[in-house]
Symmetry: C2
Subunit: 356 residues, 2 copies
């Protein structure tokens, strides 16, 4: 497979070395044999700001002209933050929205796990561990110039990572979906994506090598957050992501997908108020006549995928809640269309999902 | 509404003057008061090559730097052909694929009827009346730089034009849809678009001013041919478009939508062979257990929209068929995935839809 990178000096970013096991590392190095390649690796989930600093230093020392991310969302998001912050004094100012992104290095990606949709959008989420902040930047300049999505390289993923990715995909669709009212086209389109995601995941967790299910899940993950799923809309709700970023800023080894599988049912339960869009979702996605039954069905589905549905399962307890709420309310505020949430609401939602 | 055109010298292309009735013409002129504006108008449906020549001449005489299309598919396609062929000696060579599009003027569009999807793709279909050819070019350089889709300006459309647009939209989706086999994501997504198109059209033909139905139909039409509906696929079948282009090259005042409402049921009937994708379509879109019943349902729907379902209704008769088949088989060949068709097949399909 050919990846044509125009620039000469390339920062090659990857994770913890799984790409050395499945030969992608060698293919990339071979493909770049006429480039000057500097490597940045050991990127972890919930990627840390320090790695961004490290990458920027490498860029400056080596006159880097482009960033190649080979990995999943963490690797791509780290690469985007490096590409964006190469031109500013203090990287974190972009996340604090004290400075704007005016320029960025070109970004190329080879996706190794479908989940965040980062391969076809301009979003980057980085954790500032010192300040307990898991915050985001977003700019069209950070959209990858070329992305390669080859489903076959995902067949060796551990099942839990497939499940995490599917959960992230569903969550992106739902953050948009529930805010639609009259936009029948987008309601129906997002229902088709949710159903396809669930179908493909059910198949893959029995048979991880099913190519067609894998390509379908890959494409659902990309479409869930490449812009299409939110068209005609207001930008989406994103409250569950706000809460989950609080959880994983508090507990840094928590998989994003696992945080979401706990929070989403609790949030829906707290806000739905039998609004028509939630009742429609119950019927169309879960074939249930009311939201309560749909929530039971959804939680059973998540359990069957190996995902947690309560905080205790991931070792978060009642004593931790105040600190998590504090992290949440110190995050940049988000628009809400379904229900504005305050400190007390966040606390109630988190308490409601402590135990199964 | 603001339309920011960077270039100074603009060719403003529109149709037969309906934009003068609903004030769009004045808004555009006002918006462009600091530009040098040259007008090209009176573009007709099944737009003619001679108008493209006329536009190129105006471009050369006036040092035109950008083309603004205000209208539907015919106006946009004419504008694209002008933008593409400004740089070649003989325009038609691009359509005959004797020359490639290497460069094009930037194109801006304000859409006044949703149908062809031309507002968000790089396709242009032009009729060479002298040679009885209705042929296409396609290049990413012809994608409009900015498109404005304002559903409210379509509320005054005659019902038959709304129906024609809906038919064109459905046809684009179906040209892709039936070629999918294992791509569940795209099968389901395209089903959602077909259902939304039908729902919105049913509402609009009763109440043309329903804003939500209009915005939904608009967005379906754009998504049907902006690239999304065909992802994961092979490029689509496009046999019905080939046949319809034969019909309207033969009968130049035939609406594209009306040609399609006649041809699509006849083509499905000829090729379906009870393949799973056709049976799924019968169930999902028409709630029928077999393709024959779905075809009856579809034809009834088209009739209820005021569209013809037989050639005789548009004054095409058995004596004309050989000439139409001749036009079809002289067109550039297309890939077929469902069924390759030869001269005899085209003839049989056309004869099968002579009468209701």
């Amino acid at each position: 497979k050919e990846l044509n990178i125009d620039e000469k000096n390339v920062l090659f970013v990857y994770g913890k070395g799984s790409i050395k096991k499945n030969n992608i590392y060698n293919e990339v190095k071979n493909n770049l044999k006429n480039h000057n390649v500097i490597e940045l690796n050991n990127i972890k989930p919930n990627p840390d700001l320090n790695k961004v600093f490290e990458g920027i230093k490498l860029c400056k020392e080596n006159n880097i002209e482009a960033v190649l991310a080979v990995g999943g969302g963490s690797v791509i998001d780290t690469s985007k933050a490096i590409a964006a912050s190469y031109y500013v004094n203090d990287v974190w100012d972009l996340f604090e929205q004290k400075e704007n992104i005016e320029k960025a290095l070109p970004i190329y990606t080879i996706l190794t796990i479908s989940a965040t949709g980062s391969e076809m959008n301009g979003n980057s989420v980085i954790t500032n561990e010192k300040e307990n902040k898991k915050w985001a930047i977003r700019n069209i300049l950070l959209n990858p110039k070329i992305t390669i999505i080859d489903p076959s390289i995902q067949k060796t993923l551990p099942k839990i990572q497939t499940a995490n990715g599917a959960m992230d995909t569903l969550s992106h669709i739902m953050e948009f979906y529930f805010t639609f009212e009259t936009e029948e086209t987008m309601i129906a389109l997002n229902e088709s994506l949710m159903k396809s995601t669930i179908k493909a995941t059910d198949i893959l967790l029995n048979n991880p090598e099913d190519y067609h299910a894998r390509e379908n899940l890959c494409w659902c993950a990309t479409l869930a957050l490449n812009g299409i799923s939110g068209t005609m809309g207001n930008g989406g709700e994103w409250q569950c992501h706000l809460i989950e970023h609080g959880l994983s800023a508090f507990k840094k080894d928590l998989d994003h997908g696992k945080g979401l599988s706990i929070i989403f049912p609790a949030w829906i339960n707290y806000v739905h108020n039998n609004k028509p869009i939630f009742k429609r979702w119950a019927k169309e996605i879960w074939n249930k006549d009311n939201v309560e039954d749909a929530l039971i069905e959804m939680k059973n589905k998540f359990k069957s995928w190996g995902l947690p549905i309560s905080l205790n399962e991931v070792n978060i307890y009642e004593k931790d809640i105040d600190e998590i709420v504090d992290i949440i309310i110190k995050s940049p505020p988000r628009n809400s269309f379904i229900k504005e949430l305050n400190k007390d609401d966040y606390k109630k939602i988190l308490i409601s999902c402590l135990k199964v």
